[in-house]
Amino acid sequence: MKLNKPLNVSIAGLEFNSPLILASGILGVSPPTMHILADYGMGGITTKSIGPVKRKGYPNPSIIGLGNDTFLNAVGLANPGIERFSHEITEIKKKEGLVVIVSVFGDNSNDFARTASLAEKAGADAIEINISCPHAEVSSIGVDPKITFEYVRAVKKAIHCPLFVKLTPNVTDIVKIGMSAEKAGADALVAINTVSGLAIDINTHRPILAHGIGGLSGRAIKPIGVRHVFNLSKAVSIPIIGCGGIFNYEDVLEYFLAGASAVQLGSCLYYGYDIITQIRDNLIRYLETRKLDSISQLTGLAHHYKEIGFDD
């Protein structure tokens, strides 16, 4: 693991041997698959968002591609429920060195808290709360600083491990929400969840996704994610985990320079597991070429540029 040294990052006291973390909702149900992802270079994995009870989500089409490495989904938080999912968490946790983050949600703050607590008991190293899925009810939490505060506080009280709060980009001012989460006790922020979007079929005149509106992920949203991380990192002092449209090591670096301390990978898994190793190896090469000891030295560097303008 010596090779990985420059890529070690520490977030809220958790040690990741790679800054690459699996994003929630991507492949995140099968324990052996999570272990394989670690072998390919993920330092952590986030499970599918798990709720208090089993939930079927939305019918198909629920995930489609739009071309240009961009995707639209409305899975609708389909999940087996925390009760039945607990033993999968315990299984996932068996991989040494892999940080296991369980994403949770619920109908109210009690649900969130109870689910989080059960997830922790099953072995979660950290809890991520999903208050940001654009096509489900939880979206109404993450757009309001007060409600965000309330939910974060409730979950924080119920658990002992670090709490990550995943933010939605579909807001006027993400900084307000992020600050609110920080004040309520969040140990890190994850930005961003998917961007609300719609695709309509011109022959049947219907939205293509069964649910209608869905969440955009992939390449199209990278500049949006980088912008949000940049703005958040000016305002909060807890670490930020960048997410959205990462497909190569340059994308990872952009997020770090904007202020991220780690990143989550989602849609790029379209290209299979190898892409993780590629990104990891290219990051190491970048750091070596520039004689940098640690990727963490890059966090936030883009804030130090000199503003320029015309003398009007």
């Binding site: 909702g25 991507i26 492949l27 995140g28 149900v29 099968s30 324990p31 052996p32 698959t33 394989i36 992802l37 599918k48 089993k54 939930r55 079927k56 989500g57 019918p59 198909n60 089409p61 629920s62 995930i63 489609i64 591609g65 739009l66 071309g67 240009n68 490495d69 961009t70 995707f71 989904n73 899975v75 389909a78 999940n79 087996p80 429920g81 039945r84 999912f85 999968e88 695709a199 079929d201 022959n203 049947t204 219907r206 293509i208 069964a210 989602g266 849609s267 898994l269 379209y270 290209y271 299979g272 597991y273 190898d274």
Partner: protein, 290 residues
Amino acid sequence: MTKNEQSITDKPFTTEIKSVVQETPLMKTYYVSFVVQGKIPSVIPGQFILVWIPGIDEIPMAISHVLDNGDIGFTVKDVGEATHALHKMKIGDLIGIRGPYGNGYQLKDGFSIIIGGGIGIASIRLLVQKALQKNPNHLLVIVGAQTAKELLYLEELQEILKPSQMLVCTDDGSHGNEGFVTMILEKNLLHIKEKAGANRITVYACGPEIMLTNLLKVCNTHKLELEASLERFMRCGFGLCGLCVVDPLGIKICQNGPVLNSAVLNELDDFGKFHRDVTGEKYRIDSNHG
């Protein structure tokens, strides 16, 4: 199969049903044009598409026909809500298509035994055509169904295959041999091995998972290579949702499958035992999971 660039074909395009053929009482074949952004995607036998029935569902279907004009066909068994809705659709109705997805069968040199059970015959139809072109002398096709009525493409297969190239069976004996395809295979193995001589024998198969697990046992016993096409519940079709993953190898049926070979199948704890439902929950196939 890992791609280098995202294909625009991941977005369903709607197109009119060009024709419908009633194949058996429960099975119909639908033909649609398959020109995506001006190009005809190339299809490997065993690949599938996701078929969107607007307002209902989107479901995986093996590509069973590829016509010279770029049209494709798929054969649907009426088993539930979406397939039933499809069965009610007529020429001119719009359905959405995306794909082709998956790896398909890798037709190898040597002697090929191609086996289809029930609607699984749809998945092997193109492979039979390809094998006939490649090595007609080293080919045996075995098809089976519960009853004679549900034997898919029977006349067509009898037309293109010589009697010696084809074995038919039904569970109730209403056509061909009585019994399962695995039994027929074992019964004829000695004869096949003689025919194959020094050539490697590969078995290609699609059918109910119970048929495939039994087939794997037979193949293991007799040291035959197996390529079997599996079914799992799917959402994305391109490796993101994880619903179709079979443990413990992290294999995505949509991307690394649906066709898996013996080496992989022998390692799969899930094979013949577990599926994941629409929520991602794993359940035993033989349980009463709903």
